[in-house]
Amino acid sequence: MNEALIFDTVRTPRGKGKKSGALNEVAPVQLASKVLKSLENRNNLNTEDVDDVVLGCVHPIGEQGADIARTAVLEAEWHQTVSGVQVDRFCASGLEAVNIAAAQVMSGQSSLSVGGGVESMSRVPLGSSGGAWMTDPTVAYNSYFVPQGISADLLATKYNYTRNDVDSYAVSSQQRASEAWKENKFKNSIIPVKDQNNLPILEVDEYMRPDTTMQSLGALEPSFEKMGNHGFNDVAILKYPEIESIKHVHHAGNSSGIVDGAAGVLIGNKKMADKYELKARAKIRSFASIGSEPTIMLTGPADSAEKALKKANMKASDIDLFEMNEAFAAVVLRFMEALNVDHSKVNVNGGAIALGHPLGATGAIILGTVLDELERRDLSTGLITLCVGAGMGTATIIERI
């Protein structure tokens, strides 16, 4: 089997996912093509050598529809022989895209591929692609569907994470992200978004609230209580009858931010490394996706991490740094508890609570974040994982070379 080598990671800054957000004026295909353009320029690629572009996108409808990966290839003026495919594994789509690109290289079917993702949540809103899972009565009944926020509160209830626990976690995410920006720790991967005149549109992650405190979070009302009281709490309890009532602890301040963004990871084999004199920054050790109980939905990261560790013949203690997507604070708390991992190794530069979670792109973003940090600290191994809708988890282990 060939080694899948990581040559480069890039990402846009994350813009607030609403009309007033800086990236709202930029079409998602432009975000994605800027990522591709940047990979081309930074690595002096002749794009004819790229076999495939795999992009995660969770709402592939409207302007994100019709295979946005191929559309971005065309818009970036890459060679017409470069194919593109859009994939959806909900919140792990970006990481899934990286894994698929890596698999192409490992199996010898690609020499050079891009894995990445894009989501303009300000232009194609959360939930806009619908889906049988939540709207088809038979499916929703049989799978005890509840929206993810209810699942997060169910998880917190089941594992006894209090409002104080989740808020403390959120404060630390903000502090870490703010520190990271102050020390410019994201500089290696960040590509400022500029217009066609080279005028800047967005250069930094704009969602952060560095002044967040326990007091400021304490003032926020739980986001999912009202929704829960309209039947979803009862559906969750039907599945978890040991629970008396759902404690609603999550709110806008301890859940991932809604943002716009795109990211890409350039992956190839040794031949391409030699051809372009590219430094292989890391290799993909293993990756795995799993299915887990769909109502609580968000327990998959630990299972997928275990599966990827097993494939790599490693233990959790062999991992130097973890990136566990901060979809909701309780998800990360549960992950750390299940794998017995200390917070000092997890999301050391903050996460989606502070920086935002552009659904289809996040997996590729946080892979870049952990690789940059491994290099900065001169450590070796990183594990990236995300919780996934409908009860799944995806994880990837990388190792610096």
Partner: protein
């Protein structure tokens, strides 16, 4: 043409009056065949320009012939029977010839489904003209187009609300809903119907009119999308995992409206075919409708039954608590069975003292728990403290209860708890049947325990449940319980004989 269910009367303008003859059941083999014959005749006749559908009955209170439908014992037979009628209606609806229904009196689901396929519906101006809806939860669901045409006619949300209610809709309300198009005096009914036919020589439903297709309700519109997501949850929460008819109704509407009427009718018929063979559907229909007792039990008997039943339920919950089962699991098990409240909340409601009368010498620890709670004034709902704490509209299980009775580390499955509560309730009903019954009619008791005592509706009653789920299993499971839990699970021979006889 004069058939036993339908008569066709022609006039000299090429308008035929299709009169459904006085009967109060529909959807039996003879009716379906007559209907099909009439429609083929209308379709083949070039002279017929328009159709007026009416009844010579005072009411449109047509209902399903449940005996007939339940006698169809395989899926193919049920599906073919249902689709025969629904195809005939569909054929009539798409001939292009205008169809007008004249609506009067009491209109029940069967009648509603028949008139919905017409292009224009005229209601008689009369206080007696009313649509009677019956909650789908009790297993009667539309099967010949009602789940497809009503939402297309009046909207998704409005249809689901009506089908899940026991509402009675006046002609005026029906007009507002677009369920009827016009209300006129009795003397004007035929005149107005003919007027419509003459003015609209080619008539199609909106859902068959290509120009109007984009005005049809779409489950994936932003509004309907969020409606379905939350409605499914609230219905699932309301029915727990019982009453499949509710799921089937909303499913037929959702799936059918994602496609056209032709596919929608097939979806509806397939769903109905599945539902009518479901054990809960059969149980409810057999007890509530087909064997509805003529005799009524005396109120004092009902009261005695109810009191003992509720106390027994509460006591079983307390026993479970003492065996180390967590209070939340006990309460949720009770709710999943569709008892209105969990057993411990019931104990609070009745006052926890009520449990004492149900305990025997083997229940000393239960009695002592009740006394300890009474000592600290936790008597129940009356003083806002019992197994629960009650504060204004909120309630939660008393947090310190686990200090008195710790929950075991390893908890049983909720299904085990449900089984125990259900068996205990059934045995209690059987015990009281032996004790109080002066009326040797188990079916009347099934009806009574469902309607008046609080035994879950979906079971079809205690006797029906045992009969449907297997007498042998019931006897064996009780014997198993009796070994570990005591004499209240020992079945009396008389009861076994009664169950075998129904």
């Amino acid at each position: 043409m004069n058939l036993s269910n339908i008569k066709l009367i022609n006039d000299d303008q090429g308008i035929v009056n299709l009169v459904i003859k006085s009967k109060n059941t529909l959807i039996n083999e003879e009716f379906i065949n007559d209907f099909k014959k009439s429609i083929n005749f209308i379709s083949d006749s070039k002279k017929i320009k328009g159709i007026i559908i009416s009844t010579d009955h005072n009411n449109y209170d047509y209902d399903y012939d449940l005996n007939f439908i339940l006698s169809l014992k395989n899926s193919e037979l049920i599906f073919n029977t249902i689709t025969k009628l629904s195809k005939a209606l569909r054929k009539l609806e798409t001939l292009g010839k205008p169809i007008v229904s004249i609506v009067k009196g009491k209109i029940k689901l069967g009648g509603l489904e028949i008139i919905l396929h017409s292009h224009y519906r005229i209601a008689q101006k009369d206080n007696g003209t009313k649509f009677y809806f019956k909650n789908t939860k009790y297993s009667i669901i539309p099967s010949i187009g009602g789940s497809q045409r009503l939402p297309r006619q009046i909207g998704i949300n409005e249809s689901i609300n009506l089908y899940l209610s026991d509402k009675i809709i006046s002609a005026e309300e029906a007009l507002e809903l677009n369920l009827v198009n016009e209300i006129v005096d009795e003397s004007q009914l035929v005149h107005k119907a003919k007027e419509y036919i003459i003015k609209n020589p080619f008539s199609l439903q909106d859902w068959d009119n290509k120009k109007l297709l984009n005005t049809q309700p779409n489950p994936f519109s932003t509004k309907n999308l969020s409606y379905f997501i939350s409605k499914i949850a609230s219905l699932h929460a309301d029915t727990q995992d019982h009453y499949p008819s509710v799921k089937i109704l909303i499913s037929s509407i959702y799936e059918g409206l994602n496609t056209d009427v032709n596919s929608g009718l097939k979806i509806e018929a397939r769903n109905f075919t599945w539902l009518i063979q479901h054990i809960e559907t059969e149980s409810m229909l057999e007890t509530l409708i087909l064997n509805k007792p003529k005799e009524k039990l005396k109120d004092e008997i009902i009261d005695k039954f109810k009191k003992d039943f509720e106390e027994n339920y509460a006591a079983e919950g307390v026993r479970l608590l003492l065996s180390g089962v967590s209070a939340a699991l006990i309460e949720n098990a009770g709710k999943r069975l569709d008892f209105n409240l969990g057993p411990l909340e019931f104990a609070d409601k009745l006052e926890i003292q009520c449990v004492i009368s149900q305990l025997d010498s083997t229940d000393a620890s239960a009695a002592s728990l009740i006394r300890s709670m009474q000592k600290i004034n936790r008597n129940g709902l009356s003083n806002n403290k019992g197994f629960y704490d009650y504060k204004e509209r909120k309630k939660n299980i008393w947090p310190d209860l686990t200090d008195l009775i710790p929950a075991s580390k390893k908890q049983p499955s909720v299904k085990e708890i449900e089984s125990r509560l259900l068996y205990s309730a059934i045995n209690n009903i059987f015990y009281n049947y032996n004790k109080y019954s002066n009326l040797k009619n188990p079916e009347a008791y099934d009806y009574m325990v469902i309607k008046n005592v609080g035994f879950p509706l979906w079971t079809g009653g205690a006797f029906r449940w045992v009969q449907k789920n297997g007498i042998k299993d019931f006897i064996n499971k009780n014997a198993e319980y009796a070994k570990t839990l005591g004499s209240r699970f020992i079945l009396n021979d008389n009861i076994i004989n009664i169950i075998k006889s129904i």
